[in-house]
């Protein structure tokens, strides 16, 4: 298990908290909460060690495309980058569809 922290510059404020996913094998949960910070913060607990660089890449790509301003909490039980991206974008869609 490893704990990671990231900050990203972001512009699109979110109005409500949102929760997506389950900490099942190969899966993760993503929580986004409205924030008063000027940039997004991410606290990640991951069951797979040694993937900090990959997480950074996934998040950079995500924020390039969807610059959501929020506090993120992520609990990850060994998801592939594809699944991480799916949950992040699902949370994004859940906010937009509200």
């Amino acid at each position: 298990m490893e704990k990671l922290h990231f900050n990203y510059a972001a512009t699109e404020k979110i109005a409500h908290p949102v929760h997506i996913g389950v900490v099942a094998s190969g899966d993760l949960e993503v929580i986004m909460k409205p924030t008063t910070n000027s940039e997004s913060t991410l606290d990640i607990v991951t069951g797979s060690d040694g993937f900090k660089e990959v997480w950074g890449n996934v998040l950079t790509r995500f924020f390039d495309r969807y610059p959501l301003l929020a506090d993120f909490e992520i609990n990850d039980f060994g998801a592939t980058p594809g699944v991480v991206n799916l949950r992040l974008t699902q949370a994004m869609e859940a906010l937009k569809n509200e």
Binding site: S48, D49, G50, F51, V54
Partner: protein, 304 residues
């Protein structure tokens, strides 16, 4: 049944592991080698006690299974386990095995002073590890990529300082785990060439016979069926990486219908799961010989 028998090397030993060994066999071996096996954790600090102990345990298990009419189609030993593997497949005789193993242990014990050993990197490909090793290795500070236990798990052998450097590089480059192992010898690397040569001389006088099935060789990862390749593996495996991942990939192609994991420990759980999925497996470390026999017979009857 097409059964794959797997013999681990050092690592899973523990005090009391010889308690179910056939007492007659144990006595016979102790007399032959003039060696009292103590079967304690302290004793297992000693290479000879350890290696002879493990092989005694494996040979005893082989004899019990064979007495119940079971036999392997394929055998795979890991490092020290090659001797039991060669015995199980009929290439090496029981009374030739133990003196060889004792000698191997003695040679290893004297081979290197402090400051050499092994490490492991998990989460990188062999190619990636080899690139890191190349950045560190020199004649004065040798380090080699050695055993390949699964696709993403490569061992390191060499000088400890050099190993530490590779470990650090590996961590910086995204390894999941990178660390030193508690092994005092740089096994399975060219640093052991001397030991291999001496063992090879000893093997010349040992009569080997053609395996009664497939022998999976450590030093190439290939399936072999002839004496010279078995002999090369028995003598030379200390100087070569154990290509265990490749051995299991080949074993998979032979489509075994069951796997018997011999004691001690069960170090290959992960790679076997990756290669063989939910294939029937039995583990002598957790089951009695009679349980193993019960399961293999049940599966053969197809009642599962």
């Amino acid at each position: 049944m097409r059964s794959l028998w797997i013999f681990p090397g050092q690592g899973g030993q523990h005090a009391g592991m010889l308690k179910d060994v056939d007492p007659a066999l144990r006595e016979h071996v102790e007399q032959m080698l003039d060696l009292k096996l103590l079967d304690t954790d302290v004793a297992y600090q000693d290479s000879v006690q350890l290696q002879v102990g493990i092989e005694l345990l494996q040979v005893s298990q082989i004899n019990s299974l064979k007495a119940s009419g079971l036999k392997p189609s394929l055998v795979a030993g890991h490092s020290l386990g090659v001797f039991a593997a060669a015995y199980a497949i009929g290439s090496l005789q029981q009374d030739d095995l133990f003196p060889l193993v004792k000698r191997r242990a003695e040679l290893m014990q004297g081979a290197y002073p402090e400051g050499y050993g092994m490490g492991v990197v998990v989460g990188m490909s062999r190619k990636q590890v080899e690139d890191l090793v190349a950045q560190v290795h020199s004649d004065e500070h040798p380090v080699y990529a050695s055993n390949q236990n699964s696709e993403d798990q490569t061992a390191l052998s060499g000088e400890l300082a050099a190993i530490d450097q590779v470990v650090k590089l590996a961590k910086d480059h995204g390894a999941t785990i990178a660390m030193r192992l508690k092994v005092p010898v740089p096994s399975h690397s060219p640093l052991m060439a001397d030991v291999a040569t001496k063992l090879s001389a000893l093997l010349e006088s040992v009569p080997l016979t053609k395996p009664n099935g497939i022998y999976l060789a450590n030093n190439t990862g290939h399936a072999v069926r002839q004496v010279p390749q078995v002999e090369a593996d028995l003598s030379g495996n200390l100087a070569h990486p154990v290509y265990f991942e490749a051995m299991m990939a080949v074993a998979h192609d032979y489509q075994p219908d069951s796997i018997v994991n011999f004691s001690p420990g069960r170090p290959f759980r992960k790679v076997l799961g990756q290669k063989f999925g939910d294939l029937h497996q039995v583990n002598l470390d957790q089951m009695s010989v009679s349980d193993v026999e019960f399961l293999l017979n049940k599966w053969e009857r197809g009642t599962n």
